[in-house]
Symmetry: C2
Subunit: 365 residues, 2 copies
């Protein structure tokens, strides 16, 4: 088992990564504080792992009272109405201030369970058990929680850190291939923004990742978590540096919002967004053509979209990006690549004509 | 103008208290960071003060873009559905991360606007302009924000501190008498839990408070804010000490929930709850009969209820108190008076038979 620590002074917490971790009750139990646990999961994950996790919490005569709530599966249910079901269950089952919420599922479950934990009784403990590659390498680490607003992704939420993250790599065996590839898009991101060697490793090992080679997946998850943990430790509340984790996300969020939540997976939208960000970076003269094509090639090999869907018009992009969380006093700040592989900037100091050209080159109208 | 600082290291903020503060644009403007402000108010307060506050923000050619959202008035609208109206308006008017939410109104508006500010884009600036005595002496200070769940008060929320609190005592001139008396019940609380001299001052000056003597009101507000600021500085997240601010609130919340939000004002329910807490403290032998009767007398003079409504049965009290935020691992912790005037404890170590006797003595069945 590998342990990656997210260093946040008194809120420091471990990420456990390894095979068979959901067979080790002590790991989970030592992070449960009170007598009550509410497991938050969805209709897809519950039949696969809920019984196992409940058993784990109750193992060795633990006396922990375990309740669960099963939400509908999918980004389109990541809304306030679905969140209320978690609060309803928590109140009905008399969860108290010392209780622990356990997020069992992918990024949507982690984000919603985390926000529910942040807001219930103004904050209770929570633990992440991510079961998708996307959640394991990105969303379960760093404390960003929230739900979508009909007009924009993750507009309502909180920064709220878990007690621990338990990543059992065995859970990836049940993951649909499309979900696997979506997660790989986020892995590619870490290489691009800050870890050239990791990007090169991915170029060499993409086939192994797609074949679900356990060692390759474990390494990719560990290296991704280490990168994210470092960034989050330096800038928890996203004053600046942390924003670089959103490479491709401004375009990507616009795609997700524009085609309706659930049309594309998050990593699919981010992949197309990353290609657009690379295109803009190249137009600005900030990266050379060879880097741009390496990015395109690696994402193509990862079997994720490398362009937005044809329904995304220039106007749609512009309207949705105007309400992005990274807009400040009217200026849209973007994460763009600049310089050698592994370097990026977070800036509003780019030629907006180049942005228009990028939109024109990717959109039919 | 008086200034009371709430000392919370990097989130320290001032409470400005005085007459005519809503005529001083620089006070408010210096705490507005970005270019966008969303004023959150209600249908009762908007006709009285919204234009004035918007004018204040725009005074001296400030270039601040001011938007507003007017919510229905009352505790029964302190719910997630109404909160969504704030988010809708914030998204529609393109509020960004540097924007400021301004709460203009009583405790309900402050709690909802604060929680909206905590959750919008995972946290934006906010400023409190409380216009009721209750909000000025209690709810606008200390960062507790949230909304009600149908099964319990303030079950969903956040600890979130404002940039500043601006208390213009002139706003009390438009306050209905019932609201004034409700606020006085919280003022009485500070004396009981930690400030014997303040309680004695109230015994001498209750008539002045009821007659809205400006100096008496200003002193009561200042002393209340000082007491609250001290407690909050020592225990922001309510690990222990801060809970003592909830004297009478467990019984009071049960009354509010039991008769439906909006039936009684918060301070009215707290007043009855304080009398019940004093009764229980006396039954336990923790305070003497003379203190119990001084409490009853002072609250009677303040024209607030000193017993729960007849519709509150013992069973209702018990069921609702079982989901109180102060229940931990099954035990209900209460704030009770113990010893001389000005002393209290926060404990689950009381004889539950005495609690039953108190409920029997105040409830018809």
């Amino acid at each position: 088992m590998e342990v990656v620590d997210v260093d946040l002074s008194d809120r420091t917490y471990p990420i456990y990564i390894g095979s068979g971790l959901l067979d080790k009750p002590e790991l989970l139990q030592k992070h449960v504080k009170g007598k009550n646990v509410l497991v938050v999961t969805n209709t897809t994950v519950a039949p696969l792992y809920l019984e196992k996790v409940v058993g784990l919490l109750k193992a060795n005569g633990s006396k922990i009272n375990v309740e669960s709530v099963i939400l509908p599966d999918g980004e389109k249910y990541k809304d306030m109405g679905t969140l209320m079901k978690v609060f309803d269950k928590a109140v009905e089952t008399r969860m108290d201030r010392r209780c622990t919420f356990v997020a069992l599922g992918g990024g949507v479950i982690g984000d919603m369970c985390g926000f529910a934990a942040a807001a219930f009784l103004r904050g209770v403990n929570f633990i992440q058990i991510p079961t998708t590659l996307m959640a394991q390498v990105d969303s379960s680490v760093g404390g960003k929680t929230g739900v979508n607003h009909p007009l924009g992704k993750n507009l309502i939420g909180a920064f709220y850190q878990p007690q621990c993250v338990v990543i059992d790599t065995d859970t990836l065996s049940t993951l649909p291939e499309r979900e696997l590839c979506s997660g790989i898009a986020e892995v590619v991101k870490y290489g691009l923004i800050r870890d050239a060697k990791f990007f090169e490793w991915q170029e060499e090992n993409m086939d192994k990742l797609l074949a679900r080679d356990p060692d390759a997946l474990a390494y990719a998850i560990k290296r991704s978590c280490e990168n994210k943990a470092e960034v989050v430790s330096l800038d928890e509340k996203e004053a600046g540096l942390r924003a670089t984790l959103n490479l491709g996300h401004t375009f990507g969020h616009a795609i997700e919002t524009g085609i309706g939540y659930g049309g594309w997976l998050h990593g699919e939208a981010v992949a197309a967004g990353t290609v657009m960000a690379a295109d803009l970076s190249f137009r600005l003269g900030w990266i050379d053509a060879s880097l741009q094509s390496r990015i395109l090639n690696l994402l193509k090999r990862a079997k994720v979209p490398v362009a937005p869907p044809s329904t995304m018009t220039i106007e749609k992009f512009q309207n949705i990006m105007a309400v992005d969380k990274k807009v400040v006093d009217g200026d849209l700040r973007l994460i763009l690549l600049k310089g050698e592989l592994g370097n990026c900037v977070f800036t509003s100091a780019y030629d907006t004509k180049a942005l228009e050209e990028t939109l024109h080159s990717f959109c039919p109208s």
